[in-house]
């Protein structure tokens, strides 16, 4: 499939075994507070390329807050976030994007009053036409870029089975279709690492399986994923590594099998169900 080769990440990725071993995305001792609440209280975490890393934990463990720190939506009180070995702590989301880290949202953010195609095209990075007056100063360059971005958008829509809905308003899509669109849209950015916040929430099982198939296929092409997810069966089935959080800290990490057998993890989950 042509789209597959297109999805390969940056040429400088150097997806060698060595690079994979050294995590692309790391968070070290991150602390995030809201007033008196320490939502993230010294969590550490890393995610390599070519792997699906799950971030799990009971409700209120601080997963989403950590996620927002990594993606640049929150500025942590302390701790370090590194992308490809470089300190990017507290950089805003649009800067994190430039360095290859993209994200999706738990509650999908389809741009409702725009067509599916425009949802895709708006995501393309480095568009000359997005500079104010750009379309007037360099119309031919803008048109050429637009064509290229449309082609790429169409390829991704086809890959995700959304071609039929290309010209519909995104607001007309079902919840599951929106999740697919959001993921396809994030891929327009050509990220090296994609953070998925509860991709299966509110998605019917068939579509869920489809979605995870896409994730696995993209992983095999060299992309890295971080998954915050509550569906344990899915996590255990598709993830290569699992990090477990509780009370704002990372309490365990390992393969799905290791984590499942870890008494600390079991206690965290059972303990959390008590309150």
């Amino acid at each position: 499939m042509k789209a597959d080769t297109e999805l390969a990440t940056d040429p400088d990725a150097g997806a060698t075994a060595a690079a994979e071993a050294e995590a692309f995305l790391t968070a070290d001792d991150v602390v995030m507070t809201f007033g008196g609440l320490r939502a993230v209280d010294g969590a550490s975490f890393d995610a390599p390329l070519g792997r699906i890393t799950a971030l799990i934990g009971p409700n209120g463990a601080g997963k989403t807050s950590l996620f927002n720190v990594i993606s640049g939506f929150y500025r942590p009180r302390s701790g370090v976030v590194r992308v490809n070995g470089v300190d990017r702590t507290g950089k805003p989301p649009h800067v994190m994007c430039r360095h290859g880290v993209a994200r999706t949202f738990q509650l999908t953010k389809a741009l409702a009053r725009m067509t599916v195609l425009d949802n895709m095209r708006v995501a393309a990075p480095r568009q000359v036409g997005e500079i104010m007056f750009g379309a007037m100063l360099a119309p031919w360059r803008v048109r050429a870029q637009e064509r290229a971005n449309t082609t790429r958008a169409d390829e991704l829509l086809e890959r995700f089975g959304l071609t039929r809905l290309r010209d519909s308003y995104a607001g007309e899509l079902s919840g599951g279709q929106r999740k697919l669109l959001e993921m396809a849209r994030a891929l327009m950015l050509r990220p090296r690492m994609l953070l998925l916040d509860e991709p299966l929430a509110g998605v019917n099982p068939t579509l869920g399986v489809q979605l995870l198939d896409h994730v696995q296929a993209l992983r095999d092409e060299g992309m890295g994923f971080v998954l915050v997810e509550h569906d344990m069966d899915a996590v255990m089935r598709v993830c290569d590594a699992v990090t477990v959080m509780a009370n704002g800290r990372t309490i365990a990490r390992g393969t799905p099998a290791e984590v499942q057998a870890d008494p600390v993890v079991i206690e965290a989950y059972l303990g959390a169900e008590d309150d």
């Binding site: 939506f73 649009h94 953010k109 409702a112 725009m114 007056f133 308003y169 607001g171």
Partner: protein, 308 residues
């Protein structure tokens, strides 16, 4: 009747420019601006002061008027644009009043603007153009009407190109969901500033023609009502549509000035002035009930939004 049509078209052209600026803010970027009159006033006064006090040529004064309005736009947006949209609305409403009061009574400023007695003598250059162009057969008002509408069409062309470009697509994205756009790598604050400055410049341009239509301008010509008129026009024509502000403005002024046809035996002119406000109020109600997206707005788009 001809007099009515020309006066409607002059006002409609001026307010089409103003409403197009607001359309850029609200219709395309989702920025709630309740103080477009501020930029309108700054445009009008910048042109008037530069021409009548400093003897600038009209074209340079016009450019400066747009620039001044855009700069004010940036200054207002700088602290306010990160706020939630309703706070932006309050801030802009206040800025509109501040502008008027500064023009009215701020020492130093008053030396240039004439304070409450206003400023005059800025329009000779403009109406002099009639002779230069050999258009003496036109009345001054006809000439102004033609000039305004040429500008309206030029602005429409520029805005259309910009809104249909990827730049405009980013603005619409911000209108739909700011966080989504941030996650897609867009510098949302920068785009909002650009939209705000550009819309403000259009309002400034509208202010220039507003001043040219009057032999003198005073701060009392720039009441908050002007901002409300722009909103009514957007409501009638439809926000987020390119022609909406133009069509809305023509209909608004056609209705607004229609009370001049009421014979004076029926109603004093003062009562008629009240009546037209009532008519406008009724029109707003009818629009909101029957066609909330405005005449040219996209009903489909509106329905999608309400489903959320």
């Amino acid at each position: 009747m001809t007099g009515y049509i020309i006066s409607v078209l002059v006002s409609a052209g001026i307010f089409a420019l103003l409403a197009q600026g607001l359309n850029l803010h609200w219709g395309y970027t989702g920025l709630l601006n309740f103080g477009v009159v501020a930029f309108f006033a700054v445009g009008a006064y910048t042109m008037a002061v530069l021409v009548s006090v400093f003897d600038w040529p009209l074209w340079a004064a016009m450019a400066a008027a747009m620039l001044a309005a855009a700069v004010l736009g940036v200054l207002v947006a700088l602290p306010a644009i990160r706020l939630r949209s309703d706070y932006l609305a309050i801030t802009t409403l206040a800025v509109g009043e501040i502008c008027r009061i500064v023009l009215h009574s701020s020492p130093g400023v008053v030396d240039l603007t004439g304070g409450p007695s206003g400023i005059r003598g800025y329009s000779h250059d403009f109406f002099g153009l009639r002779e230069t162009l050999g258009l003496q057969w036109m009345t001054g008002l006809e000439f102004l009407m033609a000039a305004v509408w040429i500008v309206v069409l030029l602005v429409l062309l520029v805005v259309t190109v910009m809104i249909r470009s990827p730049w405009g697509r980013v603005l619409k994205g911000i209108r739909e969901d700011e966080d989504a756009m941030r996650a897609l790598g867009k510098n949302v604050v920068a785009y909002k500033m650009q939209s705000f400055a550009f819309g403000a410049a259009l309002a400034g341009l509208a202010g220039v023609f507003f001043a040219l239509n009057l032999s003198s301008i005073t701060p009392e010509a720039f009441l908050p009502m002007i901002s409300i008129y722009a909103w009514v026009i957007i409501l009638i024509g439809g926000g987020g549509s390119l022609l909406g502000p133009v069509v809305g403005s023509v209909l608004f002024w056609a209705l607004f000035n229609a009370t001049t046809f009421i014979p004076s035996e029926w109603m004093s002119s003062q009562d008629a002035a009240y009546l037209r406000l009532i008519l406008v109020g009724l029109l707003i109600m009818v629009m909101v009930l029957l066609r909330p997206q405005g005449l040219l707005g996209n009903r489909k788009e509106l329905l999608r939004e309400s489903r959320h």
